[in-house]
């Protein structure tokens, strides 16, 4: 039991550091696209230290405190039920049969908690952003859920570990090749999930400055930033497990999650953002149809 | 400009002058101004209002209002001037002719204290906020004295009138000349 707890701590530390480093690397890459040098790779860590070093902070009530807590709980929850490395006892976390559903629930849990917390912040921009975020979230959940259902039908299991196990062998047994339609639907949903353009209207700094966390400062913000590392890492690992054959070693995990994240980043730097209504129409259009097709194809 | 000559008698235009081939100025009674502008806009093709502004003449106790209208067909601008009294600064509003006129009138009310009854929102503060002094663009308002009294001037700033400065540099023994204004 104690060994398991130590393993969990180790694996959370790994994903936090990797998630934040990935953020730093991405900033650097985006800066290169812009023609800039960009911030140092370790900048996210400095930012977190700086935010926690603020001497004063203001609160707007209990829910305001709990918002970041929910958020980080959502991030941790997502992460803790995903096996990071296939076949590794150390990085298997709490994976069990049926964890796909728990993970999907946790992905949205954090956002709901954040919605309550930032709503109590009382800033009108937070409220607008929360409305936008929840609307957009329920839209991109549809293709993602359809895609996961298609996988469940395909592999006849609800366990991430089993899905990964079924993809072992050659590269052509990855879901990416065995079920391309589900993969496409999920990747499009991931664009929405990662909040890069064109689906970043929730945090659009030109319209509603920074969105839900408008009122959060100091250590609250530090917590949200830490969560960004964990949650990003967790989501990417989930996608890697479900569609890209999982990973058996840490370097493989790093390379795969990096490549998956790059899809979001490259789409992000080359598109402006959709309005909320436009992005909802987008998600409920072709991606949903692709998802439905993926489900039907494997049902038959 | 022959168009203007037709209007001369009807609107008792007292003074008309060509500054450039594409720019003329006319002066009209305040009472006839709105009617003249309406005719210029709707019949004579002066459809574009460039600006409305005021010039302060405290010596004669008057404001000169200038309405610059432009005719795109003949590429001719016409400055329609009118003179109103400084004490009872009142003028007819032309916000029904051009949408942007109400903004200019709001500014004139705030900066010169010229009232345009009926103009929408003319009493709302436009640029200044919490201003308690006289209308600041009037010439008898001394901005420098106000600034020095209010805004903690940093000591050590040397301000020299350029003419006095050059004079003291070039002709140190010369007695300063009288201030020309």
């Amino acid at each position: 039991m104690i060994v398991k707890a130590l393993y969990i701590v180790l694996s959370v530390a790994l994903v936090t550091v990797w998630g934040l480093t990935l953020t730093g690397i991405v900033r650097k890459i985006v800066a290169r696209v812009h023609g800039r040098i960009g911030p140092p790779v370790w900048q996210p860590f400095v930012d977190i230290i700086k935010n926690n070093a603020k001497r004063t902070g203001i609160s707007h009530g209990v829910m305001f405190y709990l918002g970041p807590v929910f958020r980080i709980a959502g991030g941790m929850g997502t992460f803790l039920f995903i096996p990071v490395l296939f076949g590794s006892d150390m990085f298997s976390n709490f994976s069990f049969a049926g964890d796909v559903f728990l993970v999907m629930y946790f992905i949205f849990f954090g956002q709901l908690g954040m919605a309550l917390g930032s709503g109590e912040g009382g800033h009108p921009y937070s409220a607008i952003a929360v409305a936008r975020g929840l609307a957009q979230m329920s839209a991109f959940e549809v293709p993602f859920a359809l895609s996961v259902i298609s996988l469940a039908v395909q592999y006849d299991t609800f366990s991430v570990s089993s899905i990964v196990a079924a993809q072992q062998g050659s590269i052509f047994s990855w879901t990416m090749f065995t079920n391309p339609l589900a993969t496409i639907a999920a990747i499009i949903a991931m664009l929405g999930m990662n909040m890069h353009s064109p689906f970043d209207v929730v945090i659009a700094p030109q319209e509603i400055p920074i969105g839900p966390p408008t009122e959060y400062q100091g250590s609250f913000l530090g917590m949200l930033h830490t969560n960004r590392g964990i949650f990003n890492g967790a989501k990417l690992i989930l996608f890697m497990n479900l569609y890209f054959g999982g990973a058996t070693t840490i370097p493989e995990m790093i390379v795969k999650t990096f490549c998956i994240y790059m899809i979001s980043v490259f789409v992000g730097v080359s598109f402006p953002r959709f309005r909320t209504d436009q992005s909802i129409r987008f998600f409920l259009g072709i991606p949903t149809l692709i998802g439905v097709a993926a489900v039907i194809l494997y049902w038959l | 400009m022959e168009q203007i000559n037709e209007l001369k008698a009807r609107y008792s235009i007292s003074d008309s002058r060509d500054q450039r081939p594409d720019l003329g100025f006319i002066t009209v009674d305040p009472g006839r101004l709105a009617a003249l502008l309406a005719e210029l806009q709707q019949v004579r093709g002066y459809t574009h209002l460039s600006f409305i502004t005021a010039v302060d003449y405290p010596e004669t106790g008057t404001f000169q209002l200038t309405y610059m209208v432009h005719n795109f067909e003949s590429a001719h601008s016409l400055g329609v001037r009118t003179v109103i009294s400084r004490d009872t600064a009142l003028m007819e509003s032309v916000h029904h002719l051009w949408k942007q006129a109400k903004t200019y009138q709001r500014e004139l009310k705030e900066m010169y204290g010229i009232d345009f009854p009926g103009s929408p929102g003319v009493d709302d503060p436009f640029i200044l906020e919490g201003w308690q002094g006289p209308p600041p663009m009037r010439r008898d308002f001394d901005t420098r004295a106000y600034s020095e009294k209010t805004y903690f001037p940093r000591p050590g700033r040397k301000t020299s009138d350029p003419r006095r400065h050059m004079q003291s540099r070039l002709y140190p023994d010369y007695t300063p000349f009288e201030e020309e204004t």
């Binding site: 700086k50 001497r55 | 308690q132 600034s147």
Partner: protein, 205 residues
């Protein structure tokens, strides 16, 4: 009714007074020196600038944020909300109307916070020294850490100013927020002298 600890908030209407905080700003003591040194290092290397272009100085901030001068190299980034920002750049002259908003933005920032005055007009009024609507000395209204002179200061000068500010932060001298709390009454009196329609709380947290 009010004692030394609370603020009267006389500018607010009676029924709104209990909606707003009436606490005075507090002085936050720095921690033990070695911890503070580390924290100051992190503060100096992660300066988030409040994206409030208050004057024509804002025009030179854009080349700074973008590819030509790229201050993100130094860990700086624009931040759209005052809650999260730590550096307020005053981009030149401040009209009375803007000063009111600037004070509000400044007070919403969290300690430690820094102020850079950009351009000669923040130092002594500069070109607008005799204008009835622009302030002459910024340091009478807000604690200024670094002044960068020029009209406009070049981006290189602004980067040099940032370096100066970083040095001050690392040395532990950039305690503007504490100074503001200590001399709160003096700053408030100066602010209220020119903002005659004070219709906000005396201190906006």
């Amino acid at each position: 009714m009010h004692n030394k600890e609370t603020l009267p908030n006389l500018g607010l209407p009676e029924h709104e007074r209990d909606l707003f905080c009436d606490a005075r700003p507090r002085v936050s003591k720095p921690l033990a020196s070695y911890i503070e040194k580390f924290l100051n290092w992190s503060r100096a290397n992660s300066l988030w600038i409040l994206a409030y272009g208050t004057g024509c100085g804002a025009i030179e901030l854009r080349p700074l944020f973008t590819a030509r001068f790229d201050i993100s190299r130094y860990g700086m980034a624009p931040r759209p909300t005052p809650r999260q920002a730590s550096l307020l750049m005053i981009g030149g002259y401040l009209s009375v109307k803007t000063l009111k908003r600037v004070i509000r933005s400044y007070e919403q920032m969290q300690n430690p916070k820094f102020v850079i005055g950009l351009g000669s007009c923040t130092v002594n009024g500069g070109m607008y020294w005799d204008s009835y609507n622009t302030i002459n000395r910024l340091d009478h209204y807000l604690p200024v850490d670094v002044y960068i002179t020029g009209c406009m200061p070049r981006p290189e000068a602004i980067i040099a100013g940032f370096e100066q500010l970083k040095k001050r932060i690392k040395d532990g001298r950039a305690e503007g927020a504490n100074q503001y709390a200590e001399q709160f009454d003096w700053y408030k009196a100066n602010q209220k002298k020119i903002i005659t329609d004070w219709n906000m709380p005396d201190y906006n947290w």
